[in-house]
Amino acid sequence: MTEDSTTPRVANRRLFLRGALSAGVAGVATGAAAGAGIAAALDGSARPAAAAVDDAVPFHGAHQAGIATPSQRNVAVVSFDVLAADRGELTDLMRALTDRARFLTSGGTPPDPGISAPPTDSGILGPSLPSDRLSVTVGVGASLFDDRYGLASRKPAGLTSMQTFPNDHLDPAQCHGDVSLQLCAENPDTVLHALRDIARHTRGAMQIRWQIDGFKSPPRPSGTPRNLMGFKDGTSNLHGDDTKTMDQLVWTGGEAGWAAGGSYQVIRKIRMLVEFWDRVSISEQENMFGRRRDSGAPLDGNDEHDTPNFAVDPVGTAIPLTSHIRRANPRTPDTQDSRILRRPYNYNLGIDSVGNVDCGLVFICYQRDVAKQFEAVQKRLADEPLVDYIQPVGGGYFLVLPGVRDTNDHFARALLA
């Protein structure tokens, strides 16, 4: 995969502009910062625009940020249950989420309330907020479409509750939810600041059901970041700037009605039993993944980005048939459509009751169709040898809402209209 900070940002900005132009949306302007980035892109200049733009991830657009956006270093994934008393209050909640996300992602100085209230901002990022590449990605779960808000008839057919897979160890307290927030930024204080701000503005309307924080490791020493089993995780991934593939496999289309331009989000909190794993021989570890631990190369190759050639190895001499990469992506014509965009992070929660480190993977993926993509992959992975060393303990399925187009738009406007 190429989801690292070296992915050219200019390319993304250009796509962003193109989308805005074709949609005829005046709200392309997300502040002077974005303007500068657009200017750089239009210059055709190859130099990164980063130095000129305060690293803001544009908030407005046909799609929400935080999916095609190159992964930031830190994440908080937070699931909420909605308490809003009626549909009007649910709309207020969506407006509040929009306002906070728009403000937080663009950065700037919070208003001074004078003597009328305590400070409007927690201050943990200083008197003026850096954007820090913050993205706020809002999704809705199937449970929001029950009888509370009269939305049952508007539930997209593809939005279901996360099922329990054969190797799962799910804790109900860490599963599902009405609303998901994926908060990503380069620094963990920015992520926490955003969560505190959003929670402060929405306390009576929604409450946190579960939360998991994650971090993305830097390349060690190069290439795709590693998971906490020591293996590079996400080498073969979709590319956020490949719009054709994104449209094919990630963004929902016209079939989704009001939800067109969204994406189905699967979150899985996967505990890794790392002490047990560390007591396993290197060849057994590598056979379970199908890659070398040191380089990330497939077992039939030399470099991380060598393409494994399963076709010439039908009985799994080089790469076992049961290996993770072979089950997950057999690279056959009929499995091409089950590919997903992964945006994984590592997590560490401290020590469990037997003295082991409670750590693992915040698996996040995006796709156009959960049944045909994530669930198809998951079924192929059932009972893979790796399952003895990992335990999915929580998560949920959500539908990431279409993007907020401009300053007059808000999250879920088409849904609640």
Partner: protein
């Protein structure tokens, strides 16, 4: 990239249109605005200054020799837009606010000196409405509220003394169920008084203190009062030994009743209590932390709501004209009350906080959390300020 030239033109045109009409282009407040620098001096509260409307930073420097409070006021009403408290000589601090069209003035309160209003400044451009001014609360404003509060607490303390006597008799009578019921009545009576932090001085700990911070915990000789009796009643202690604790409790309540008329009630305390009582309820009761065995935390929260309402009633005349969202306080008090009431069982007992299901828990967390957010400005607005 030759083909991109027309796109470039179109792109800039779009930007120009968007920036003309959208607050976010300039209102994205990192946009550079030159601070308005004003030096204030004892006696004049600054020279004439000027500013354009919009989001502005006023940099106030104390060029005098005395620490001074500086307010930005509406000269016609005395309402305060922003303040810099305790500006020491030779220091500079900022006020950041949105200046709407209208008149403004700085007002300086140097220590031990009457307030002085600076030149009146007219802002004639920018948004029609800027930040709202709040009429300040001074040490006279809350006098009636304090008097009202004292009357209500005095009545409550009288009832508490009666309830504690009933508890003593029940403990001496030796019946556990009767004693527990009498304890709950007395405890809730105290909780309805809205004690928080330093209300009632040392009597608060004597009457309702927790074992936290005592080396011996629940068995520390200094752990006394209602919570100590609760611990004993739900941990199988002999009722006779608890009667001795109750005797001490009666002595302490009598001591408070005697002392209360002389205790100072800082007018600041009432607006602070407005949110502090429920802050404590959230922190100690809804978490179960305060529970010494009775599992009556929800009943305590119910009593705390009553205590909060008592405080709100006393300050309503002051707040309803100063706090724009005052009506939301009643809304969230009501919603919180409904959520709390829903944890009461048909037989009148309360669900232990540890037995709340997820939906109940989230509803309570959400309603109390929103109530607290709504009450927080009350303390800021009610902070006693100089006006003369």
């Amino acid at each position: 990239m030759a083909a991109s030239a027309p796109i470039r033109a179109a792109g800039w045109a779009l930007l120009a249109v968007a920036c003309a009409g959208l607050v976010s282009c300039t209102g994205k407040s990192s946009s550079p605005d030159d601070p308005v620098a004003i030096q204030v001096n004892t006696g004049t509260c600054g020279p004439k200054w000027s500013a354009h409307g919009g989001e502005r930073t006023l940099q106030i420097k104390n060029a005098g020799t005395v620490t001074t409070e500086v307010d930005l006021i509406a000269p016609d009403t005395g309402g305060v837009y922003a303040e810099v408290e305790a500006l020491a000589p030779n220091t500079t601090r900022s006020m950041r606010l949105t200046l709407g069209r209208g008149t403004y003035a700085l007002r300086c309160y140097a220590e031990d000196t009457d307030g002085v209003t600076g030149p009146v400044v007219t802002v004639s451009d920018g948004p029609v409405h800027g930040a709202a001014a709040v009429k300040p609360v001074d040490n006279q404003t809350l006098l009636a509220s304090v008097k009202d509060y004292r009357t209500r607490v005095t009545a409550g303390l009288g009832q508490l003394a009666t309830d504690v006597d009933t508890l003593r008799q029940a403990l001496r009578g030796g019946d556990l169920a009767t004693s527990r019921a009498a304890w709950l009545t007395a405890h809730l009576g105290y909780e309805r008084l809205g004690a928080a932090y330093d209300t009632f001085d040392d009597f608060a700990d004597k009457i309702d203190g927790m074992p936290d911070g005592l080396p011996g915990g629940a068995h520390d000789p200094d752990f006394t009062g209602l919570r100590r009796i609760e611990y004993g009643l739900w941990h199988g202690e002999p009722l006779g030994s608890l009667a001795t604790v109750a005797d001490q409790l009666a002595t302490d309540v009598a001591g408070l009743i005697k002392a209360f008329p002389q205790q100072q009630v800082d007018p600041n305390d009432l607006p602070l209590r407005a949110h502090e009582i429920m802050e404590n309820a959230l922190q100690f009761e809804l978490t179960g932390e305060a529970d010494q065995g009775s599992h009556t935390g929800m009943a305590t929260i119910d009593a705390n709501l009553t205590g909060t309402q008592m405080v709100l009633d006393t300050i309503t005349p002051v707040m309803k004209t100063r706090y724009a969202d005052w009506d939301k306080v009643a809304l969230w008090m009501s919603r919180t009350r409904t959520a709390v009431d829903s944890t009461r069982r048909p037989d009148g007992t309360w669900t232990p906080v540890s037995a709340l299901d997820r939906a109940q828990r989230e509803q309570l967390d959400g309603d109390i959390g929103q109530l607290l957010e709504t009450l927080a400005p009350v303390a800021a607005i009610g902070d006693v300020r100089r006006t003369s």
